[in-house]
């Protein structure tokens, strides 16, 4: 059972690599080194701030785009091209397929993020000439970014299990944008009354809360991140991912293939 999930995951990873997904790293490296050289010339005070802010924002954005664009096709493309026929006619359970796909994509993103993280630290070293203790906080920000990726992967898979790639992309991007403003949505729900209150509150708790996962600016300003937040974010992301994946499995288990 677990071995089949691992085989499916590694094949998914292989597909991403062969589809040249990791080439985004080149764009990332160009962007970051350009920025580092640029701020290195104009200022001596804010260069660390800029590199960390920009670097982590780029890690998050690049990864999100990859997660959504691969994620939305993971199931629907296999149904469309009928590559699934010869997989599901083997002793592969449908849920194993979904979970394998999830881990394959998540693995791709972790590897991608790992290389990007090296880039961020290299740029930091370039502008600051040495690492200082608060730089370790960047690792926490990166960890939160990966948690965010897990949730996005699971959501993209969920949409991919019942909808077309185009609609899935629209859903996933909308959720990503709304989720990034989840705190504001919650605040709005608190302030509003009656029907609006219930709708806003329901939406606020349904969409993924990416606000809490975003500590980029705090880390750039070398503010500490509490252990409490690490724990609650971890639990929240794992729970959200599990629920979204269960939804994907439930839908896919009942689906007639084309």
């Amino acid at each position: 059972m677990t071995s089949r999930i691992a085989y499916i995951a590694s094949n998914t990873f292989r597909e991403a690599v062969r589809d040249r997904v990791l080439y985004n790293l080149i764009a990332f490296a160009l962007l970051l080194s350009g920025a580092a050289i640029f701020v290195g010339q104009i200022s001596i005070d804010i260069e660390r701030l800029v590199v960390v802010n920009l670097g982590l924002a780029a890690v998050s954005l690049f990864g999100t785009v990859i997660a959504i664009f691969i994620g939305i096709g993971l199931v629907s493309k296999e149904i469309e091209k009928r590559t699934l026929y010869t997989v599901l006619s083997r002793p592969v359970r449908r849920w194993e397929f979904i979970i394998g796909k999830f881990f394959g994509l998540a693995g791709t993103l972790v590897v991608n993020t790992f290389f990007m993280a090296i880039g961020v630290f290299a740029a930091l070293l370039y502008v600051a000439h040495k690492f200082s203790r608060p730089d370790a906080l960047i690792l926490i920000a990166l960890y939160f970014i990966i948690l965010e990726f897990l949730m996005i992967c699971a959501l993209a898979l969920l949409f991919s299990s019942f909808s077309t790639p185009l609609l899935s992309a629209v859903f996933a991007f909308s959720l990503f944008v709304i989720g990034s403003f989840a705190d504001d949505l919650r605040a709005f729900a608190e302030l509003s009354h009656g029907f609006t209150h219930w709708v806003a509150a329901a939406a606020a708790y349904l969409v993924p809360n990416f606000s809490a996962l975003n500590v980029i600016s705090a880390v750039a300003h070398q503010q500490p991140v509490g252990a409490q937040l690490v724990l609650s974010n971890t639990l929240y992301a794992l729970l959200y991912t599990t629920v979204a994946l269960s939804g994907a499995v439930l839908i896919f288990e009942r689906r007639n293939l084309k």
């Binding site: 071995s3 089949r4 085989y7 499916i8 094949n11 292989r14 597909e15 062969r18 589809d19 091209k81 009928r82 590559t83 699934l84 026929y85 010869t86 997989v87 599901l88 006619s89 083997r90 002793p91 592969v92 359970r93 009942r254 007639n256 293939l257």
Partner: protein, 313 residues
């Protein structure tokens, strides 16, 4: 033990925007395939063959009915380790090479690592694919994909093989090879269930056939039994410009063209017409089967339904 028992499987697709109109693809189908036989599932395009196979593979869900495969419930995942499936017009991960694809499928089917490599080479040479190392499947022709499809269906040494239109997309030599391969599978003690709309493929191979049309079963049995009541046609050509009376008497339709006479006659009259021609001392040029008895039977079965449907309308 029966290899496959299809117990009143039926399928109605819902087609159209918002899934409204029901479309009947398969009437309740009851069919038993014995272990060790080659069973041909025949029908014209759109008859419901692929639908039946997809239901049996668990790819689509039936509207009603059940099936048993190798003595187990057909949805039992353990059954899947013992069956192989070639889909119609198969398509595979095009970023993989044939070796990588088969290795991956071997993993999924639980073929142990030490056997996999050997087994992949074995099936590739069995389907006649050589010199393809390092070539991604996106570069494969339709015929090569069909061969890969057959290779992956028998890779894990299954007891029962389902093939949906196995000869399609192949040239005459390829069809021949696939025929031999299917016969070999039977020799190895496997059960083969294959669909086709090409009767000659079935006639040459099958122990038994079923004929399905518009989702409805029209006949099942050994080819000889099914065709005992119908006769095929042969075409006989000889040199001459006259039509001898003795030949007309046999009920042949004759035409003179140039120096030759062409006659079409029932295949059970073959000996009689040869004897007659010998007595007439004419030079025989050729005898060709026009329509085998299975084809005649098949056409009869399909036409039968059309006339009854026509009467009702």
């Amino acid at each position: 033990m029966a290899a496959i028992e299809i117990l009143d499987l039926e399928k109605t697709y819902l087609v159209g925007f918002w899934c409204k109109r029901p479309k009947r693809a398969l009437q309740p189908l009851r069919l038993t395939i014995e272990e060790g036989e080659i069973f041909g599932f025949l029908g014209p395009n759109g008859a419901g063959k692929t639908t039946t196979l997809k239901i049996l593979m668990g790819l689509v869900f039936p509207t009603a009915g059940t099936a048993r495969i190798l003595g187990r419930e057909w949805t039992d995942p353990e059954v899947k380790a013992q069956i192989g499936f070639l889909p119609e017009q198969p398509y595979f991960y095009d970023y993989l090479t044939a070796h990588e694809l088969l290795d991956y499928f071997g993993q999924l089917s639980g073929v142990p690592a030490r056997e996999r490599k050997r087994r992949v080479e074995e099936v590739l040479s069995l389907v006649g694919l050589t010199d393809i190392k390092g070539l991604q499947l996106r570069r494969f022709s339709k015929g090569m994909l069909q061969r890969i499809g057959i290779a992956q269906a028998i890779l894990h040494n299954p007891r029962l093989v389902f093939l949906d239109e196995p000869m399609s997309g192949l040239d005459p030599l390829g069809r021949r090879e696939v025929r031999d391969l299917i016969a070999q599978l039977k020799q190895d003690g496997k059960t083969v269930f294959f669909s086709t709309h090409i009767l000659s493929d079935a006639e040459a191979l099958c122990d038994r056939v079923a004929i399905i049309h518009k989702g409805e079963l029209r006949g099942v049995g050994a080819v000889d039994d099914l065709t005992s009541s119908v006769v095929g046609k042969i075409e006989v050509i000889w040199q001459g410009t006259q039509i001898p009376a003795s030949i007309k008497a046999l009920g042949a339709e004759c035409h003179v063209s140039g120096d030759n006479v062409r006659a079409v006659i029932s295949d059970n009259q073959q000996d009689a017409i040869i004897d007659a021609l010998r007595r007439e001392r004419v030079r025989l040029i050729s005898i060709t089967p026009l329509r085998t008895s299975l084809e005649t039977y098949f056409v009869e079965k399909l036409q039968h339904s059309q006339t009854t449907a026509g009467k009702r309308a």
